[in-house]
């Protein structure tokens, strides 16, 4: 293997090494703080490695992995997500749960799997990365199982996710097999070539293969009608894990799915576009409609994430019709905006919760603005960003989606987008209204206590990022414009 390949692999290698180091440390010395710090070091090292060692781009390392600006961008987002989750997990578990050390092992393997997905342009690495991420998540969701007060929900959520996700993996695998049976290749770019050679007649087996793949991906992105698991799992999982699920796992799947769409040119089949449009429209409408009825913040964020993935899908559909550069840029921006916004939101929930008791009911947030202005301001910023209001990252993100949609002339989806956004506004505003209402005196109000450092750091940084991306996005857009080079 060439030295260039080794350099490009450094990020993945560092993550792997950190996993081993953390595992050995945890085996010899059970010290939550130490393990947490080591994990943070490993994640930061892998995030920053390419600042010091310039990678060679683009480079295909083995048939399985490709390293280009695109993969590096998404890997960086994923690792930042991992760092935030690690920071949130410490105060959440400390003093409220026993045996916390292995959790970070799972964060690292999950992050590793997600990074592999971001770098994948081959069915095998796609599947390997996805499984590594999913298996880590099964355990992470059920992690506070020994905490007696809340143990019921994590276990239920975990089993639910395990079964659903397992079936989905099977479906994806079957789809891959059918595609392979017709085209004889696992490589994304090879798929386009092979499909082009078969262009004279559409093979139904191939179409079914692609549709199965799409169903699997839709499940992981929780698009309607494959969304059933999302609210239960979001609600049942401990807050840091929900954050991981909402950001890292989504970003990785979006990265690999967009690459698959663009490289393999699946859009050549009109049926695929129709199916994707229906998924997008249903997700935007039903995601938002169902969110209206929620009284639990985590469930609400789950439905809101369904809607947001629907918005994002509009860009993916438009990718067939607009220049690659615009669609990749839009997806990159939107995922980044969504990640910082979600992380800030979960950081607030995390600041009020711990493994012993979660503050995730809407009523817990009533009057938060007067009880703790800092937390409330962050939370309001988050909801405004999710609603796509100016001065926040969400606004530019939504602007990107509208731009891409208009350029692709997807008028039906744009109409759905407007309707969805209108419904979305309703519940975001209701949440903001709840936060602004007069405070109800509560006993042991956690909002009056000290906010743990980890949560405080995450929410401050992410809020700054939300505002910065919303007000002065140009430097970030410049970065994004280089991403499409690989397509």
């Amino acid at each position: 293997m060439s030295s260039e390949a080794i350099i490009d692999l450094l990020q993945i290698i560092l993550l792997t090494v950190s996993t081993v180091v953390v595992m050995i440390t945890a085996a010899f010395k059970r010290d939550h703080g130490l393990v947490n710090a080591l994990t943070q070091c490993g994640l930061f090292a892998s995030l920053l490695i390419f600042v010091f060692v310039p990678p060679v781009l683009p480079l295909q390392v083995t048939p399985l992995l490709i390293f280009d600006e695109y993969s590096l961008f998404f890997s960086a987002l994923i690792i930042i997500g991992g760092i935030a989750v690690t920071a949130l997990a410490y105060p959440y578990f400390e003093n409220h749960n026993q045996h916390n050390e292995e959790f970070y092992l799972l964060v690292l393997t999950g992050t590793l799997g997600a990074v592999v997905m971001a770098c994948s342009n081959h069915f095998v690495s796609f599947f390997l990365g996805m499984e590594m991420l999913s298996v880590s998540l099964y355990v992470m969701i059920a992690y506070p199982i020994h905490s007696e007060k809340v143990a019921k929900f994590p276990l239920e959520a975990s089993i639910k996710y395990l079964i659903m996700s397992g079936v989905t993996s099977g479906i994806i695998l079957f789809g891959m097999a059918l595609v392979y049976a017709v085209l004889g290749t696992f490589e994304f770019t090879g798929l386009a070539v092979a499909a082009g050679a078969l262009a004279e007649g559409l093979d139904p087996v191939l179409l079914i293969g692609f549709l199965l793949l799409i169903a699997g991906i839709a499940f992981k992105l929780s698009l309607v009608p494959f969304h059933m698991w999302t609210p239960d799992v979001y609600e049942g999982a401990p807050v840091p894990v929900t954050a991981f699920l909402a950001t890292v796992s989504k970003a990785a799947m979006v990265a690999v799915a967009l690459r698959l769409m663009l490289n393999a040119q699946i859009f050549e089949f009109t049926q695929v576009t129709v199916v994707l449009s229906l998924l997008a429209a249903a997700s935007m409408i039903f995601g938002n409609l169902l969110a209206v009825m929620q009284s639990n913040v985590k469930r609400l964020l789950a439905y809101s994430s369904i809607a947001h993935m629907g918005y994002l899908l509009v860009v993916v559909i438009a990718a067939a019709l607009v220049p690659d550069m615009l669609s990749v840029e839009s997806v990159g921006y939107y995922v980044a905006a969504y990640m910082v916004t979600s992380l800030a939101g979960f950081a607030v929930v995390n600041a009020l919760s711990n493994a012993g008791k979660e503050m995730d009911q809407l009523s817990d947030y009533q009057g938060l603005f007067w009880r703790n202005p800092l937390l409330a301001t962050v939370m309001i910023t988050v909801f405004l960003s999710l609603a796509g209001i100016p001065l926040t990252a969400g606004f530019i993100g939504k602007f990107y989606i509208f731009t891409t949609g208009v350029e692709g002339q997807l008028w039906f989806l744009l109409t759905m987008l407007i309707i969805g956004s209108a419904i979305g506004l309703y519940y975001y505003l209701r949440l903001i209204y709840t936060i602004l209402q007069p405070a109800q005196p509560q006993k042991d109000d956690p909002a009056l206590g000290i906010i743990p450092f980890g949560a405080k750091a995450v929410m401050t940084l992410m809020t700054v990022a939300i505002i910065w991306l919303g007000v002065y996005p140009m430097p970030f857009i410049d970065t994004l414009q280089s991403l499409a080079g690989g397509f």
Partner: protein
């Protein structure tokens, strides 16, 4: 740069007011007052002595290839990726509206002065940010920037209604926000369509207002894109059938909120029609004019009728607002010199009269805790100064010659008569109905027997001062409207209105 300063002072003042709360509940209003006064000072300088600010020349205008009379223009890159830049400019029309905004900002502070004691820091923060957003709307000449401020002014207003509003505030605030936001999104889609159509024909991706002005569009496409703009502005104006949010928002908002809503926020809709909808889509607008003028006439008559049926004082005034803004819609789509001048005059005069009436209604509610006119009566004897003011501003709103509203509405009717006789004839009936509902207000509230034995304090010095200022403004507009007409004329000429 002076325009950016106007906004920055308000933004900074808002944050300052919020922070000042920790030093005592009375501090925020002082900070807010200082910021608004500073802004007002700058605006007056711009009006009276622009050369002291270095605004004598209009050199930058030549670079943009524009013939209009721009007093100030400021340009800087923002998101070059999309051809989005900061372009702020005011001409005569813009400057008058900015002046109106800052002036009514001061009035709103006066209205809030004795009324808002709870969480005052956050209140003044929102008030100043709304004003800054509105100034942004009146000065932005980049469509993206315009949309940006269009949304920015909403959120603080939402907070003002949602936190300090009356009994049904959540519903009203939500309705206000969703109506405006959804129509705003429609406008965003249309802005983007326009930009991309322009991009396809010229290869130049830009949101610059001046460059988009001459875009050639196929008739059907032009009509669709124009409609998106129109609906957004007609919702804000508002015109029947998009007016539904307004009575709730106005009646539930605290007094200062109503003053800003009626006095300033409605004008952004009219301004959008004048600055963007018609000039960007001249052909589609001509084709659409009969419909729009009919909508204007319906707004005038229908909401006047509805106003007549109200018992809630603030709701009644809210409906009359819709009625008066119907004249603006009528005038804008008649698109000739008299009608346009009239529309501008109506915007300014209604800004004053509606603000004053809402302030009166708010004052009454604050004193006797009801807005229900059936429970009032005989207040003239209790609060004569207030009653006099009420009579004055009601008469102004009716369109008494010698006051600003008369000039505006008369010019609108004069202009639109040349375009569409039938519609104008119906619209002019609005003046008659207005007299009826206005006199009813005076009758019910101030005359008759004080059956509930309300006793209340008369106007405070602060309030009296506010009303006196607005009175002077209306008298000026009514007696010597030439000041305003002269300022608006170059703008209207450059927008393509034919002057004799």
């Amino acid at each position: 740069m002076i325009l950016v300063w106007l906004m920055l002072i308000l933004f900074a003042g808002g944050i300052g007011a919020w922070l000042a709360e920790s030093r005592g509940a009375e501090h925020p209003r002082t900070v807010a007052l200082a910021a608004v006064l500073l802004d007002l000072f700058l605006v007056i300088l711009m009006l009276v002595a622009p050369e002291t600010l270095g605004l004598g020349g209009v050199d930058t205008v030549a670079q943009l290839g524009q013939t209009g009379d721009w007093l100030v223009l400021y340009q800087a890159d923002w998101i070059p990726r999309f051809g989005v830049s900061f372009i702020f400019g005011v001409d005569g029309l813009g400057l008058m509206l900015v002046a109106l905004t800052v002036f009514l900002g001061l009035i709103a502070l006066g209205a809030a002065w004795g009324e808002i004691h709870e969480r005052s820091g956050f209140f003044y923060f929102n008030l100043l940010w709304t004003l800054a957003g509105v100034i942004g709307v009146f000065t932005a000449l980049d469509l993206f920037l315009f949309f940006f401020f269009w949304e920015v002014m909403l959120i603080p207003m939402y907070f003002i209604i949602a936190i300090w509003g009356h009994e049904n505030k959540e519903y009203a605030a939500m309705k206000f926000f969703i109506f405006t936001q959804v129509s705003g999104l429609l406008m965003l889609v249309c802005i983007l369509s326009l930009v991309f159509l322009h991009y396809q024909s010229s290869g130049d991706l830009t949101f610059n207002y001046f460059e988009l002005l001459g875009t050639q569009l196929a008739p059907e496409v032009g009509m669709l894109v124009m409609l998106g703009f129109f609906i957004a502005f007609a919702t804000k104006l508002p015109a029947v059938p998009f007016h539904n949010w307004l009575p709730d928002a106005h009646s539930q908002a605290p007094t200062a909120g109503s003053v800003i809503l009626a006095g300033v926020l409605l004008k952004t809709g009219a301004y959008g029609l004048i600055r963007f909808t018609v000039p960007l889509f001249p052909d589609a607008s001509i084709a659409f004019a009969p419909v729009a003028m009919t909508m204007g006439a319906i707004s005038i008559l229908y909401t006047a009728k509805v106003a007549y049926a109200q018992t809630d004082l603030k709701r009644l005034i809210a409906y009359t607002s819709v009625s008066h803004m119907g004249f603006v819609l009528l005038g804008v789509y008649a698109w000739n010199a008299q009608a346009m001048q009239g529309a501008v005059m109506t915007m300014l005069a209604h800004g004053f009269s509606a603000a004053a009436l809402f302030m009166l209604a708010g004052g009454i509610q604050h004193r006797i805790h009801t807005r229900n006119m059936d429970e009032m009566g005989g207040l003239w004897a209790v609060a004569p100064k207030m009653a006099f003011m009420a009579l004055f501003f009601t008469v102004a709103a009716v369109g008494m010659p010698g006051l600003g509203n008369f000039v505006g509405e008369f010019l609108v009717l004069l202009g639109s008569f040349q375009v569409n006789i039938l519609t104008t004839a119906f619209a002019s009936l609005g003046l008659v109905v207005a007299a009826v509902y206005s006199l009813i207000v005076i009758q019910k509230v101030f005359h008759g027997k004080n059956t509930h034995n309300h006793s209340m304090a008369d106007l405070s010095t602060m309030e009296f001062l506010c009303f006196a200022l607005m009175m002077i403004g209306l008298l000026w507009m009514g007696l010597y409207p030439q000041t305003m007409l002269d300022m608006a004329e170059p703008t209207l000429r450059s927008l393509g209105v034919g002057f004799p």
